[in-house]
Every structure is written in structure tokens, then in C-alpha cells.
Amino acid sequence: MKILVPVKRVVDYNVKVRVKPDGSGVDTANVKMSMNPFDEIAIEEAVRLKEKGIATEVVAVSCGLAACQETLRTALALGADRAILVETDVELQPLAVAKLLRAVVGNEAPQLVICGKQAIDDDANQTGQMLAALLDWPQATFASRVEIAGGVATVKREVDGGLETIEMKLPALVTTDLRLNEPRYATLPNIMKAKKKPLDVTSPATLGVDVAPRLATLRVTEPAKRKGGGKVADVKELVAKLRGEAKVIA
């Protein structure tokens, strides 16, 4: 069984982004970029399924700038066998990514696609669900456990009130939540080995996908700053303030 794992290059989760003064976007120049954390979890899960003998091949795919090759090399260092870059300078929105991925799925015919649940830059939480819908596949989003046996995926999902278990026939799509696994770190030998693994480059045009954005970003602004930093000396003062000043407790 082949597994396809879409990985996105995003601003590192430790970076606090700044809005550009002209309101056109956020400043990503000279900012540390990394693999979207949920996609690291997705790669880890796929690699574990391969290590268990359930999967035979793990293919990582990224859509975007040529720099996404770095992200793909990371995926290869973490255990993916092969990588595909769909290279474009166009700003990609989730629907466009989902269409590109559908085309890649068409070529690769994986039995399982594991996406991250959410990219931490656009915070969209859409691409996996959109891809599943375009493929007319079942989906199990926000996965915290995945088991594959006899052509069926049994997935425990994190839902609003707790957990839910879903059973679906392959081919199917899973999106990862934080508790699915703890991703490994890439070791130096594996980083070296990753440099020799195959990385193919294709394009939206070759895949026959129109990636024109559907949403126009009119402006990006900074949220109002919260006035914090207030301190109280002790519990008595805290309770007095909550009652008298904030009036939030009786």
C-alpha cells in the first residue's frame, strides 16, 4: 500500500509574525520556515505504518515555491521514500492545493492520504476535507489513532465533546491531530541519505489544474493589542478587584 503525505512549508511555529506596514500581508522575509507541525505528524504516522509492514511506500508532496524542496528533503530525512514538488509562484489557496493533490493522487494511486489538520499560517483547516470530497473518498479528520487492517482504516478522532471512532474502506483520507504521535527528529545520517532520494518536480500546468486564487486579500491588519501586564499582590487583592473593578464575580 502506498501512502501520500502532503506537506506544507510554513513560518516556524516559534516565530511571531509581523504585519507589513502597507497592509499587504505578513512579513516572511528572513523568517525561519519549517514543515507545518501537523504534517510532521502525518509523515511520522506514514513512516510508522511502513515500519509495521502495512505500507510499502511513503510519498511526500508539496505545492508552492521552489523552496518547498527543503521541506520535502526534511520529509525524506524523516523516512519518506520519494518526493514530488508541484512548483508554482502563484499564491495557493486550499481549493487549488486540493485540486493539485487530486491530480497527484490520480497519477500515484495511493490507498491512503494523510494530511495535517491545519496549516499554522492560513489556519484554514480545509485542504484534506476538500481533497477527500474531490476524490469522493471517505475522510477521518483530527485523528488521534489510526489502524489499518484488511483494507479498512479504523480511526479515533478528536471531536468537540471527546472522541469518536470511524471505520472506513480504503482508499481514504486522514488528517492528523496533535495526539496522533510524537514525530521523530531527523538524524544526520538520514539527512545525508535524504539528499539522494528521488524528488520530482512538476507544475500546475502539467497537472492540468487552474490554481488561480478565488479569494482576494484586500488587506491584512494587526489585531488591537491587549493591555495586559497588570499585577496583584495577593489573593485578597485579586478577589477584591474581580468583585469591585471587573465585576465578573459576585
Binding site: Q129, S144, R179, G228, V248
Partner: protein, 310 residues
């Protein structure tokens, strides 16, 4: 043309989140219709009909909708959509986020996630980068599919008297099956709608120590939340997580205990009216957003606070 709200319900009643989605839908200019897809869901449909601002309730019932999957919910919405609706709206809960992108993809339109303001029927504001920036986006698509952040729109009140129309349920897609649920019913107010939320972090040190927060929550009729670190460590269940990738809350009072205040956590609570932080590290970033910061050992301060509240 009208606006379709996808209801979240437990067959008998509407979830509070849907009341917020109805308010957002009311700002889009058009009649608000609510789709209640379920099994023996007449109770939920009647509840939706009584919500102010609802013009019509569409009830689709089938046994397979007792345990709805995203595939089946999307199919039922899609059956109603062609030509009839300008917008599809749901609350940005785990439930809504699971379903709406499937609808958008099938319509070949973009989805706008976590809308916090509606500037015009085609122009929306949404947070990006863990709420460190707000993007104003305009949709060029014929149908706009949005999930809305419940903290940004008030809950719609009572006073409606819409008709409930039964519509045929779409056939079961047979795609996936819900085979088990572990939903813990709590006596406490719901995290996302509570007036007071008390959250614990890694500083609590164990699940056992969360009992301390429960004693305080009892006094204040508060909901209990947590940081990712506390959930990852297994102190509390996953649905307690507040933050960028968990639940978004904006109560009147948020009390963060033993939480450092990582941007991912702040993303889920910094719109609270008042924030209290209890942390032994005076430099913890949580204090930068706190109205009332209390520096010290939580194991001393929390019991004191509980006692002080009588």
C-alpha cells in the same frame, strides 16, 4: 436567494454554537434557512424554528443520520443547494470544520474559515497566523461557504416562529461509519459558552492536581480548560484544549493557572474580557495579556483563592 445554516444538534436540541452561526448568517442579507439533518430530529428542528431571525427550517431525517458523518452531512446540504442559496454557514467547531470544506469543494468554491466579521456579503475578516494578523478577504465565487467563530457573534435569541419543512434525506453515501463515541457528559457549563473559564497547564503537574481547579470551578460555576501541554501529558481529555488548534473561548473571566502563555494558547483566549494569570515565573508571557497577574506557587494560591471565595 437565501442563506443556509447547517445546524449542529443532538436530535432533541440545537447546540449553542449554531445560535452564533444564525446571528452571523443574519448579517449577510437574505432569509436564513436552517438545515437540521438527523434521525428523529423533530425536537431540534422545532428548537431551530423558535430562534429569532430564522425564516425556515428544513428537516431531513434518515436512520443513518443518527451518527452523522461529514460525507453524509455534506450530501444532504448539497442536495438543497443548487441555485437556491448565496451562502452556506456553520459554526467553526470541530463539527462544522469537518463538513463545510467538503461542501465548498463540491461546489468548486473557496471556503472562508473562522470568520470574525462580515464587512459585506462577499467580504469577510478572518484571523491568520494564530490570530497575530487579520485578513480581509473578498470572495469572487457564486456561493460563499463560511465557518464563523462563535466568540465573534452573539447567540441568537428566542422569538422566531419559522415553519419546519420536511425535505427528503439524501441517500446514505455509505462511505464511513461511526462505530464508537467517548463523549463525557459534564455537569459544568460548556467550555466555549461558559461565562468563566479556568484553565490549567503543565504547571499543574498531574491530572490529580486538576481536582484543585474543580474545587475552584465549583465555586464560580466555571468551565475547565487546559493548555496543549496538559492535554498531551494526559492530565485532562483532548476536548479541554484551548488555543489555535483547540477551542476558541472568550468568557467574561479566564483564569490561566500554570500556563506559560505560548502564542498558540493565547490565540484561543486573548479575547476574554478579563484575564487572570497565576504563575510562579514573573516573566511568563501570559502576564503580558493578563489584567490581574498573580506571581507565586499555584499549589498555595489556588486553595487560597478557593477559600477566599467562601
Amino acid at each position: 436567494m437565501a442563506i443556509l445554516v447547517i445546524a449542529e444538534h443532538d436530535q432533541q436540541s440545537l447546540k449553542a454554537a449554531t445560535l452564533h452561526a444564525i446571528t452571523a448568517a443574519g448579517k449577510l442579507g437574505g432569509d436564513v434557512h436552517v438545515l437540521v439533518a438527523g434521525h428523529d430530529a423533530r425536537g431540534a428542528a422545532d428548537a431551530a424554528a423558535k430562534v429569532a431571525g430564522v425564516a425556515s427550517v428544513l428537516l431531513a431525517e434518515a436512520p443513518y443520520l443518527a451518527q452523522p458523518t461529514a460525507e453524509n452531512m455534506a450530501a444532504n446540504a448539497l442536495a438543497l443547494l443548487p441555485g437556491a442559496y448565496t451562502h452556506v454557514v456553520a459554526a467553526a467547531t470541530g463539527y462544522g470544520k469537518n463538513i463545510l470544506p467538503r461542501i465548498a469543494a463540491r461546489l468548486d468554491v473557496a471556503q472562508i474559515s473562522e470568520v470574525i466579521a462580515i464587512d459585506a456579503p462577499d467580504t469577510f475578516v478572518r484571523p491568520i497566523y494564530a490570530g497575530n494578523a487579520f485578513a480581509t478577504v473578498q470572495s469572487k465565487d457564486p456561493v460563499k461557504v463560511l465557518t464563523v467563530r462563535t466568540t465573534a457573534f452573539d447567540a441568537a435569541g428566542a422569538g422566531g416562529s419559522a415553519a419546519v419543512t420536511v425535505v427528503p434525506a439524501a441517500p446514505d453515501t455509505g462511505h464511513a461509519k461511526v462505530i464508537a463515541q467517548e463523549i463525557v457528559k459534564s455537569e459544568r457549563p460548556e467550555l466555549t459558552s461558559a461565562r468563566i473559564v479556568i484553565s490549567g497547564g503543565r504547571g499543574l503537574g498531574s491530572g490529580e492536581n486538576f481536582k484543585m481547579l474543580e474545587a475552584l470551578a465549583d465555586k464560580l460555576n466555571a468551565a475547565i480548560g487546559a493548555s496543549r501541554a496538559a492535554v498531551d501529558a494526559g492530565y485532562v481529555p483532548n476536548d479541554y484544549q484551548v488555543g489555535q488548534t483547540g477551542k476558541i473561548v472568550a468568557p467574561d473571566l479566564y483564569i490561566a493557572i500554570g500556563i506559560s502563555g505560548a502564542i498558540q494558547h493565547l490565540a484561543g483566549m486573548k479575547d476574554s474580557k478579563f484575564i487572570v494569570a497565576i504563575n510562579k515565573d514573573p516573566d511568563a508571557p501570559i502576564f503580558q495579556v493578563a489584567d490581574y497577574g498573580l506571581v507565586g506557587d499555584l499549589f498555595e494560591l489556588v486553595p487560597q483563592l478557593t477559600a477566599e471565595l467562601g
